[in-house]
């Protein structure tokens, strides 16, 4: 059969350009922010090492889009090359893990290296950085959950059409609203950023498992569009 290496190479060729550009732009933006903050302090309100905080959301959005595209684009592409749906889904699981680990790693490096660079110029700045490994670990699980949640949305769009996809969007928004309303959410969110127990990953883990299962159930009987 096809070698694992070749399959991974295929995914890499498919995705590498987007990843290169993404990080190039992000690091450029971060660098610009740092430079501006250094020479014109006060222009940007937040403390300098909060420069990297916005990155999380941006990466989350990128991950979300990647999840969607995997379902709507990579799925028919791989099917056109003679993969079974099971093989496709196994591929999805592997590349999602690699992708999320990679993105989390990059961001952790950016945060830690970036903060170190900032301290070279503004040694009086105090900062409380989340330890490298914890930062990487937490991001990984959150991105993975997002990736699968939007894979599910993508499969719904592909298999059942635009209306059904919009319905899923509505459901997600309602769930999000409901979750953020709960008082326990605030404390959860603060715990993440304040670096507490790693068992907090339990929630994204459960979401990942549920979303991945639903994703498989929808994917295994998905027909490729004929026109």
């Amino acid at each position: 059969m096809r070698s694992f290496r070749k399959q991974m190479k295929f995914h890499w060729i498919d995705f590498r350009k987007a990843i290169y550009i993404f990080w190039l732009v992000l690091i450029l933006v971060n660098s610009t922010q740092i430079v501006i903050q250094h020479f014109w302090p006060g222009i940007i309100d937040s403390p300098i090492d909060q420069v990297f905080a916005a990155n999380y959301s941006v990466i989350a959005i990128f991950t979300l889009v990647a999840g969607l595209i995997t379902a709507t684009q990579t799925f028919p592409l791989m099917m056109s090359f003679g993969f079974t749906r099971k093989q496709f889904f196994i591929n999805v699981q592997i590349i999602s893990v690699i992708y999320c680990a990679g993105m989390a790693l990059m961001q952790s490096i950016v945060v830690h290296a970036g903060s170190a660079i900032i301290h070279l110029f503004d040694s009086q700045l105090q900062s409380s950085l989340i330890p490298f490994f914890t930062l990487w670990y937490m991001q990984f699980w959150i991105y993975l959950a997002i990736s699968f949640l939007f894979f599910v949305m993508g499969i719904v769009f592909y298999r059942f059409g635009t209306l059904a996809g919009i319905f899923v969007i509505a459901v997600y928004i309602m769930l999000l609203y409901w979750i953020t309303e709960k008082p326990s959410f605030d404390s959860y969110f603060n715990s993440i950023t304040a670096n507490t127990s790693p068992t907090l990953i339990l929630i994204p883990l459960i979401i990942t498992i549920i979303a991945a299962s639903i994703g498989w159930l929808l994917c295994r009987r998905a027909a490729i569009r004929t026109h």
Binding site: M1, K6, I13, D14, G82, F83, T84
Partner: protein
């Protein structure tokens, strides 16, 4: 012993039906596609050729019936789908990719991909490697598909209207390449087309699909042996015109010409009476058959 050819079918469909919310696209389709042969899948527009090919490749699921590869169901069968290359007339999932990336994917994902041959084809077809699939002309999109179909050397290769958008010169080139590559690398090829006159001589077997059902699957010669032009005096032939074997009838100044489909029992008798019996070219035969069936199904609706 090595001279015996394996004639067990590689790909089969048995009583396959496919329904798309209301419309029945394929109905009780049954055929065995003999291995290492070029099959022509013929049918009018909307007859179900594209749907059938999608079913055979495992990309869509049948409502009922079986689709078998080497005797085992195609559905989610890794050996089957990896060995079936389905070249569609337009590959929507390829839109945003550059030709060179698509060829790269082919070389990574098809174990028997012939890189040299593919490059030769890319040169012959003058395909721009740096251009995205969506920015190619219709004809060039077809050519990319043809490169994949020929160079992948898959055991089973399905072509759905591969010549769409190609001018006569390119179509000839394709037929040449197909014959040459098939001769050197025999495999099972199923090609759907509505350009019958050009491609008839490529096919060893003909499968005719009409309104979702496979009505015929025969060797091209056997298929054509079933049809005859009968031309002669109207007085002699007119009485046959109501016979269900007659697909078509024309008369001019005392001479009648019939298209007869089926066994001709009284051949000698007819020749003796001065009736001229001639074979019918495949393109014309196809037209007469589809028109006849269309007429009979319409009259059924009326009743």
């Amino acid at each position: 012993m090595r001279d015996t050819i394996d004639t067990t079918p590689l790909l089969e469909c048995r009583h396959v039906s496919k329904q798309f919310s209301g419309t029945i696209a394929v109905k009780e389709a049954t055929a065995s596609f003999e291995r290492d042969a070029i099959h022509g899948l013929l049918g009018a527009n909307g007859a179900g050729k594209t749907t059938l090919l999608h079913l055979l490749s495992g990309q869509i699921f049948q409502t009922q019936g079986d689709i078998l590869y080497e005797g085992y169901p195609v559905h989610e069968n890794p050996q089957a789908v990896a060995n079936i290359c389905f070249v569609k007339s337009e590959e929507r999932s390829w839109m945003d990719y550059k030709v060179k990336h698509l060829m790269n994917f082919c070389s990574l994902l098809y174990p028997h991909w012939d890189e040299e041959f593919a490059n030769e084809l890319l040169r012959t077809f003058r395909l721009p490697l740096g251009r995205r699939y969506k920015n190619l002309s219709r004809g060039m999109q077809s050519l990319v598909g043809i490169v994949r179909g020929l160079a992948s050397r898959c055991q089973v290769t399905l072509f759905d209207e591969p010549t769409l958008g190609l001018d006569a010169d390119m179509r000839e080139t394709f037929y040449d390449l197909l014959i040459r590559d098939f001769s050197e690398n025999p495999r099972t090829i199923i090609l759907s087309t509505h350009l019958i006159d050009e491609s008839a001589k490529l096919f060893q077997y003909i499968t005719l699909i009409e309104q979702g059902t496979i009505t015929t699957h025969l060797e091209t010669e056997q298929f054509m042996e079933q049809a005859h032009y009968l031309q002669g005096n109207s007085s002699l032939l007119e009485r046959l015109s109501e016979d269900p074997h007659v697909l078509h009838q024309e008369s001019l100044a005392g001479t009648t010409r019939l298209v007869w489909w089926g066994d001709l029992d009284n051949r000698e008798q007819l020749i003796h009476q001065g009736i001229d019996i001639q074979p019918v070219p495949l393109q014309k035969l196809f037209v007469y058959l589809t028109r006849k069936r269309l007429k009979s199904s319409q009259s059924e609706d009326v009743i």
